[in-house]
């Protein structure tokens, strides 16, 4: 039993107007444990707080109950007051007799009676309170950014600029991501490379940034402030610190028939390659699937021509382990496969391409040096049909596509159509749309320009079928506004393929215990108020891994994620919330039920030896809560059958004591 002090606040007339505060103080005086009870005009005032402090000292109080406004108003205030008087701040309970009593009841007798009951419940609870100390954990002042696209680069640069070391892990041989493959960017039409490559160079040269390209994260342990991450550095067979990026090897390599993934397989590269001219790091990589030296031991040309001596055929995958305080996920997106869309003949005709392939076809560094030529015969196309929403906005259970809107297609299609008409006025360009969605600064103006200034034919309707006929592609489509079925003989068909999260996201989410939605997009901690944080503390989200996004939105989210990371890394220690779950090991069955409902992955299991009552020892599997990760929701406490799991500050017995006090 505690020595409890009760303090009833008048809050001017806010409480005293409908609650007889003196009667409340008098009634609570008789409750078990209460040794002191008083009332005062304004408890939260300096004088009121001083009174509380004096009472704590004078009456050796072990717990206090404040009958006042909502704990959401002043719980923190009174906890500080208690701490100043040497009382553990978690020995304070608030009875809400203002918002939930005096303000909602009119009758003095009724209000007073209810206030007394609420006070009794708080006294009953505080009797079972125990002093709680928040846990402290140190913060490793280094951040990890997973993914080196524009999202990852921007986040890394912002964190590095704030003075914290950052590592970028990128699976490809270079950073740059999808944006490096784009030609122009909407709505301003500046060239993607012109605005991206300076940032890539900045990232490559920044003293606080390390880039692990051609690498992947293979294991993550630990928790916010203290992650232990294993990074696999895939063997690139070229010494990164020796290679000068001169590119001689990539010209001399005799293996010329390797599909060039940077150009989406529309041309070929060598077995030793630098993905594109502005790659960072600008280092060659040997593709082990095609290199004859690695496959059969016969060749070695690159080694002979390399004056720097950077080639190392004996290189092995390396694993490095590093500690991080925060992790930013920026794994990005990919267009979905078009294989299942038979009606668009993507697999049948080379002249049916995706929008990303179209980007490469119009890019000066692309397979056609920027000339728009048909992939099948290299001729100039005169009639081009763009199809929107291919695989986006499909039925939920559809196997072909995705339920969501991919968000970026309307704008890039407008861009493609406009640029085509601008460069090749002799072309007819048709865009088939379901809706044109252009919310964004200068977005709708941009789309209207495509129609009004560039004469792109926007047709409300969908393409039903594309059939290759000779050199042409027969497009059968509907024009819903004209009520006609259209038949167009096109030279080129461009599909605005839906986008989906990168395939690496799902296993990564498992490693991070970060939650995902059914589409494999990472879930944010709160859809409106915490959009760049994962519910898993210390994991942040940047770019399209959280949902479809265009470049401006990605960059702003990247900056926001960086700000959150900086805020975290600025702290030397993290002070936890002491109201966290705790497992009584003697009662835990190790059944893993609590682990399944924990949204934060805070629960793990350990095998422990226990001395049993019969003096034998027994190895048992028991739950262990990571107090730095637990946020204190209590889902586990109800999932636990044996009652081994309890929540500090809201223990089973405390809540039951409140129930009893109210129902008495």
């Amino acid at each position: 039993m505690q020595r409890i002090g009760v303090f009833v606040c008048h809050c001017g007339t806010n409480i005293a107007g409908t609650v007889d505060v003196k009667a409340v103080a008098a009634a609570l005086k008789n409750e078990p444990g209460v040794v002191f009870s008083t009332d005062y005009q304004y408890m939260c005032s300096q004088a009121g707080q001083d009174m509380i402090k004096e009472a704590i000292a004078e009456h050796h109080l072990g717990g206090i109950v404040i009958c006042s406004c909502s704990p959401r108003m002043h719980e923190a205030t009174f906890r500080k007051t208690a701490a100043a008087a040497g009382l553990n701040p978690y020995m304070v309970e608030i009875a809400n007799i203002r918002e939930q009593c005096s303000w909602v009841h009119k009758d003095m007798a009724v209000g007073t009676e209810k206030a007394i009951i609420l006070g009794k419940a708080a006294v009953a609870k505080v009797n079972l309170n125990t002093p709680l100390t928040p846990g402290q954990s140190p913060v490793t002042k280094r951040a990890l950014v997973i993914g080196g696209g524009i999202a990852g680069i921007q986040t890394a640069l912002d964190i590095a600029e704030a003075g914290f070391p950052v590592d970028i892990v990128e699976t490809k041989p270079t950073i740059g991501g999808k944006m490096a493959q784009l030609d122009k960017t909407f709505p301003t039409l500046d060239c993607a490379a012109c605005i991206l490559t300076p940032k890539m160079v900045d990232a490559g040269q920044h003293e606080n940034i390390r880039i692990f390209s051609y690498s992947e994260v293979t294991a993550v342990k630990g928790f916010v402030g203290n992650f232990d991450v294993t990074i696999k550095r895939k063997a690139r067979y070229v010494k990164e610190d020796v290679c000068t990026g001169c590119g001689l090897c990539t010209e001399k390599c005799p293996q010329k028939k390797v599909p060039n993934e940077f150009n989406l397989g529309m041309d070929n590269r060598r077995a030793i390659y630098i993905p594109f001219a502005q790659a960072v790091p600008k280092v060659a990589t040997i593709d082990p699937d095609y290199c004859m030296m690695l496959k059969s031991g016969k060749c070695g040309v690159c080694s002979k021509v390399c004056t720097a001596g950077a080639i190392d055929y004996k290189a092995k995958d390396e694993y490095i382990e590093e500690k991080y305080g925060a992790i930013v996920v920026a794994t990005g997106f990919n267009p979905i496969s078009m294989e299942k869309f038979d009606e668009y003949a993507y697999s049948q005709s080379k002249d049916v391409i995706t929008s990303l392939e179209f980007e490469r076809l119009t890019n000066a560094a692309g397979p056609t040096q920027g000339k728009l030529l048909r992939p099948s015969d290299g001729e100039h196309p005169h009639t081009i049909v763009f199809v929107q929403c291919v695989g986006s906005r499909c039925e939920a259970c559809s196997e072909k596509g995705k339920e969501y809107c991919s968000k970026i297609c309307c704008m890039y299609t407008a861009k493609h159509a406009m640029l085509t008409r601008d460069k090749y006025p002799d072309t007819d360009v048709y865009v088939f749309y379901i809706d044109v969605r252009t919310p964004g600064k200068n977005f709708d103006e941009f789309y209207r320009r495509a129609v009004e200034e560039y004469g792109v034919h926007y047709i409300k309707g969908m393409v039903g079928k594309v059939s290759p006929e000779g050199k042409k592609l027969h497009v059968q489509a509907s024009d819903l506004l004209a009520g006609k079925q259209l038949h167009i003989d096109a030279d080129l068909v461009v599909l605005a393929a839906a986008i989906e999260p990168d395939r690496s996201a799902r296993p990564l989410a498992t490693m991070l215990t970060a939650s995902m939605d059914t589409n494999d997009f990472f879930t944010e901690a709160h859809p409106k108020l915490r959009p760049v944080e994962s519910p898993t503390a210390g994991v942040f989200l940047s770019g399209a891994c959280q949902g479809p996004k265009d470049i401006p939105e990605t960059v702003s989210q990247a900056g926001a994620a960086a700000a959150k990371v900086i805020g975290l890394l600025c702290k030397d220690h993290l002070t936890g919330n002491p109201c966290v779950a705790h497992a009584d090991e003697m009662m835990c069955n190790g059944c893993s039920t609590c682990e399944r409902v924990c949204p934060y992955g805070a629960i793990t299991y350990v095998e422990k030896e226990f001395r049993m009552p019969d003096r034998t020892t027994k190895l048992r599997r028991v739950a262990s809560v990571n107090e730095a990760v637990c946020q204190g929701c209590g889902a586990c406490t109800v999932a636990c059958m044996s009652g081994a799991m309890d929540l500090r500050g809201f223990m089973n017995r405390q809540i039951q004591a409140e129930v009893d006090a109210i129902c008495k």
């Binding site: 906005r393 499909c394 259970c397 559809s398 309707g461 039903g464 059968q476 509907s478 009520g483 079925q485």
Partner: protein, 130 residues
């Protein structure tokens, strides 16, 4: 009258199992339809008109017989609305109400010529044998 129409609409939805509210009005059904030019009302219009309860024009239109029930619209619809099944349900409703079919199985061979697509022959036999 209102009630009759509403009952009929419910019957059509029940027979077909189609929920027209799933339609996002993309028009891919009509883009796909091989009988588009013959039909007065087109697959997407069927969906919309059943949604709004505008059934009379559909029932009196020859379009319900011109649908080949090739089900290309069902296959291609990104929202799984299945317009073809809706048209079929409309036709069945009409048959039930009028207690008679557009034509009988016996009369089919007479109307077949070299131009008739095979799909139409098969589907006609299937439809008019009921």
């Amino acid at each position: 009258m209102q009630n009759k129409n509403e009952r009929r609409r419910e019957q059509i939805l029940r027979i077909s199992g189609v929920n027209p509210l799933k339609c996002m009005r993309c028009g891919k059904c009509s883009a796909t339809c091989p009988s588009y030019d013959e039909m007065e009302y087109h697959p997407h219009e069927f969906v919309y008109m059943v949604e709004t309860g505008d059934l009379e024009p559909l029932i009196h239109s020859a379009s319900i017989y011109q649908c080949l029930s090739c089900m290309a619209c069902v296959e291609r619809c990104p929202r799984g609305v299945e317009p073809g099944k809706l048209i079929e349900a409309l036709r069945l409703t009409v048959i039930r109400e009028k207690d008679g079919n557009h034509m009988t199985a016996d009369t089919i061979p007479a109307v077949i010529d070299d131009e008739t697509p095979q799909q139409a022959i098969v589907s006609a036999l299937r439809k008019y044998t009921k």
